[in-house]
Amino acid sequence: MDFLIMNEGFPLLSTLVFLPLAGAFVLLFLPGENVQRIWTMIITTVTAVISFSLYTGFDSTTAKYQFGEHVSWIPSLNIYYTMGIDGISLLLVLLTTFIMPLCVMGSWTYIQKRVKEFMICLLIMETAMVGVFMALDFVLFYVLWEAMLIPMYLLIAVWGGPRKVYASIKFFLYTLSGSVMLLVAIIALYLHTGTFSIPMMMGQDYSNTMQIWVFLAFFLAFAIKVPMFPFHTWLPAAHVEAPTAGSVILASILLKMGTYGFLRFCLPITPLATLSLGPYILWLSIAAILYGGFTALAQSDMKKLIAYSSVGHMGFVTLGIFFLNKQGLEGAILQMINHGVTTGALFLCVGMMYERTHSRELADHSGIAQNVPIFVSFLTVFSLSSLAFPATNSFVGEFLILASAFSENKIIGGAAIPGAILAAAYMMRLLQYVLFKGPGRPDLADLNVREIATLAPLLVFVFWIGLAPEPFLSVLHTSVDYLLQQVDVAKSAQMAMVMLP
């Protein structure tokens, strides 16, 4: 257990995982919709507050997993309840706990039927999502990974839009088929190593062929989740039909699971395959960036526009990961957080307008700037953040990724640039509609205090990460260094093998 720094005293990680679940259980017995809303708000807020002590207690000088918990679960199969976080998962856990209260606030009036069930789904989602980022045992990881599917399916299928059945089934089938491949990979690794412990699977000398196959299985599972081009078609459907909170969770956190999977599994467990297949994934990322950009430019539905922009943005993240250098990886992880903040905020914005106009069409919102100035100010800032305007969060991440691209391969770097231009184009188009074109909607009311309170924290993060990203980057350095070292060790070991007579 030398990879784990055990937690002394209060079991922080387990609390974060099980508090929402316990909250969901209590919710079963609570009467009254407002009581249920307030209870969920309290639970998610308390979780967020507790999770903050992870940041303050985090030791950024070590690459080991911290706040570790290790309990035997199914001894006969060597399955343990192992939890721990490092720099890579810390920020994602915080993002999750931080986004959830905002989701609850964002659905306060949006959800009018089956409020209790909706809130239960949200809380179970939180348990699963937080757990996925903390799990260090592959079976535990897989159970939580699959556990996310059901509440998400329900969120879309019960509270979704007109084509909710189509969208939810498509989402379910896509993700499930990816998960099956993940299960195959897990079993293959177990048969080889005899353990389900994720850190113990790293740094083993699997044969080249095995690495390739395991990598491909991983890749399919995670690429569907990201989603990478050409596995992205479930995303726009799911986003468009999902309720606001569903879209926010999907965009801010679920998509990050895919890229988190690349970082946690592909790179350290199958480094040789990563090295040999990485270049192809770079080009796939470029395809995603360009495809997402062009498609977003053609949308008239605001949610679809943002959904396709996600494809492009996540393309930047995978681009940063597979250059396998420090700037790229740190940029990619930061960009995951940025995308969570910005795209989550944009979906919240669209949801707020949908509540008023019952439309997501750009044309129905043309010229509303004169009627809802506060809303439009928020939308403008988040759109600028989405197009990586300097001094906003996305710029820092995108710049790091571009810098790593230009230091490794100028052609791929150059190929990503049109993606940046397209991001500006589709976001400016959105803004042009909302700010100017058309007569405006005098019947619309501007944001109320609750809605402002939902968006304001995200606004703070847009500028905080944009102007002073050091607190966010500093926790990454050691973990990213260690990750790169794992890949390098495999690389030099392979070279040594080749050199042997």
Partner: protein, 499 residues
């Protein structure tokens, strides 16, 4: 105040520079909140303009004494910060932008009220933010800060261009934003990333010789970066990325005047020349032989834009192409890489600003008084609008480069610089452009003073525009003459840049 380090001059950390930057921003916020009360709103505009201008003025004499004001606001990444710096070069542009904001604030009050324009609060707010961006560019200590404020100017002037909210406005605004963001994202962003990868920082050095690149840097890449920067700062109006400028002339005249003759286009030229002198440095530029070929290239823009200007009957369109041509004078001067050439280029930042804003103010005054946009309809108008057309005549002399108006100083320095550099083709460019300037400006004045009103269009009802427009335009015209006769005020700053 603490002294950071000493190069040739003292670098002083001072919050004064931050105040200068935030005054227009605070002004913008106050303006947007007082939209319901026009008088209060416009007073705030004027007051912030005056505060900004006086703050900048107090910085002039320390800078002339060799001090450099410096303040680091944010640290983004190692080597990338948001940092402000006021050196002699910054002061040239900051002075021009801040002093003309005062004048333009009065003028736009007259113009916008005279025409009963809509959305004046939005107009004033965006105007102030644009000045904030321009001052930010002037005070940028590194390429990232410059890029940041450059983009702020692009975004916040978009509503100004689209102000009329009709088809023509949207078309112009679309062209405007497409040209500016595409070049910024497509050329500047990769340039920033590549420079950061190559040098590990984006900070400008403190003299115009060294540049940011090591002596053994790959020449081909540096040349490529140079081209990226030349076209990336598309606000400089260089052909072929100049189309946005004539398109943006659909904006109300105060916008065309301050932003498209001064703030926006000068942001482009200032950024380009800052990058040439401080980013690449004269040493690198001459080592890679980037100077004279670029001078010929911008020479093409000078001549070509003047030829196009000849064909335009719409006065603002003619002025727009004249701007395209005149902006390239600034870059041409710097590309000569001789002391007089650089001096001629840099002094033209202020000379062109004061003269061109006069011309635009005149165009606006003519429009408010007569609703006439085309030159062919302006015959004989000078009889009833002597001040406006008198100012126009004097300012166009400055554009032509006749003594004693400001433009003459530029022409003189540029000619000396050209002879120093020994490239006589450039002299032909300057001569051709001067003749073309005469050809497209002289008819306007001639027709106005000596032409006859067309049949059926009497003088009745036509008089000078409101005083709040005539006084600003006469003031600008007066300053154009003053800095032509006493060029030393700006020349001292230019000399401090050259060292």
């Amino acid at each position: 105040m603490e002294i950071v380090n000493a190069v040739n001059s003292d670098i002083v950390t001072s919050t004064k520079i931050v105040w200068a930057l935030v005054v227009p921003l605070i002004g913008a916020i106050c303006v947007s909140m007082t939209g319901k009360k026009p008088n209060l709103r416009e007073s705030i505009s004027v007051i912030s303009a005056v505060i900004l201008c006086s703050t900048v003025l107090t910085m002039v004499s320390p800078v002339l004494d060799g001090k450099i004001f410096y303040y680091q606001l944010f640290k983004i990444l190692p080597g990338i910060t948001v940092t402000l710096r006021a050196d002699a070069f910054s002061m040239i542009f900051a002075l021009v932008a801040s002093s003309l904001w005062v004048i333009a604030a009065f003028y736009s009050m007259g113009y916008m009220r005279g025409l009963h324009e809509h959305a004046q609060t939005r107009f004033n707010t965006c105007f102030a933010i644009a000045i904030f961006g321009a001052i930010g560019v002037a005070f940028s200590d590194n390429l990232f800060t410059m890029y940041l404020f450059y983009e702020i100017v692009s975004v916040c002037t978009y509503p100004l261009v689209a102000h009329h909210q009709d088809e023509e406005g949207y078309e112009g605004a679309k062209k405007y934003i497409v040209y500016l963001t595409t070049t910024a994202k497509g050329l500047l962003l990769p340039a920033l990333a590549i420079i950061y990868v190559m040098t590990g920082t984006l900070d400008f050095p403190y003299n115009i010789q060294d540049g940011m690149f090591a002596a053994d840097a790959n020449g081909a890449i540096v040349t490529m970066l140079f081209i990226f920067c030349l076209f990336g700062f598309a606000k400089n109006g260089l052909m072929p990325v100049h189309h946005w400028l004539p398109g943006a002339m659909v904006a109300p005249t105060p916008v065309s005047a301050l932003l498209h003759a001064v703030a926006v286009v000068k942001v482009g030229v200032f950024s380009t020349t800052r990058m040439m002198l401080y980013g690449f440095g004269t040493d690198t530029m001459s080592a890679l032989n980037l100077g004279i070929p670029t001078a010929y290239f911008v020479g093409f823009t000078i001549v070509m834009a003047s030829v196009i200007a000849l064909t335009k009957d719409n006065l603002k369109a003619r002025l727009a192409y004249s701007t395209v041509s005149q902006l390239s004078y600034i870059m041409l001067g710097v590309c000569l890489l001789t002391p007089h050439g650089i001096a001629g280029g840099l002094i033209h930042i202020s000379n062109h600003a004061f003269s061109k804003i006069t011309l635009f103010f005149c165009a606006g005054a003519i429009y408010v008084a007569t609703r006439k946009k085309n030159i062919s309809e302006m015959s004989g108008l000078a009889k009833t609008m002597p001040f406006t057309f008198g100012a126009f005549a004097i300012a166009s002399l400055s554009m032509i480069g006749a003594p004693p108006v400001a433009g003459f100083v530029t022409k003189w320095e540029l000619l000396v610089g050209t002879i120093e550099s020994g490239s006589f083709g450039i002299i032909l460019v300057l001569l051709a452009s001067t003749l073309l300037n005469v050809a497209y400006f002289a008819p306007v004045t001639y027709k106005a003073f000596f032409g006859k009103r067309p049949e059926g269009e009497p003088y009745e009802g036509i008089k000078e525009a409101p005083l709040s427009m005539v006084i600003p335009l006469c003031t600008c015209c007066f300053i154009s003459v003053i800095i032509g006769i006493y060029p030393n005020f700006f020349m001292n700053l230019v000399k401090a840049v050259i060292g």
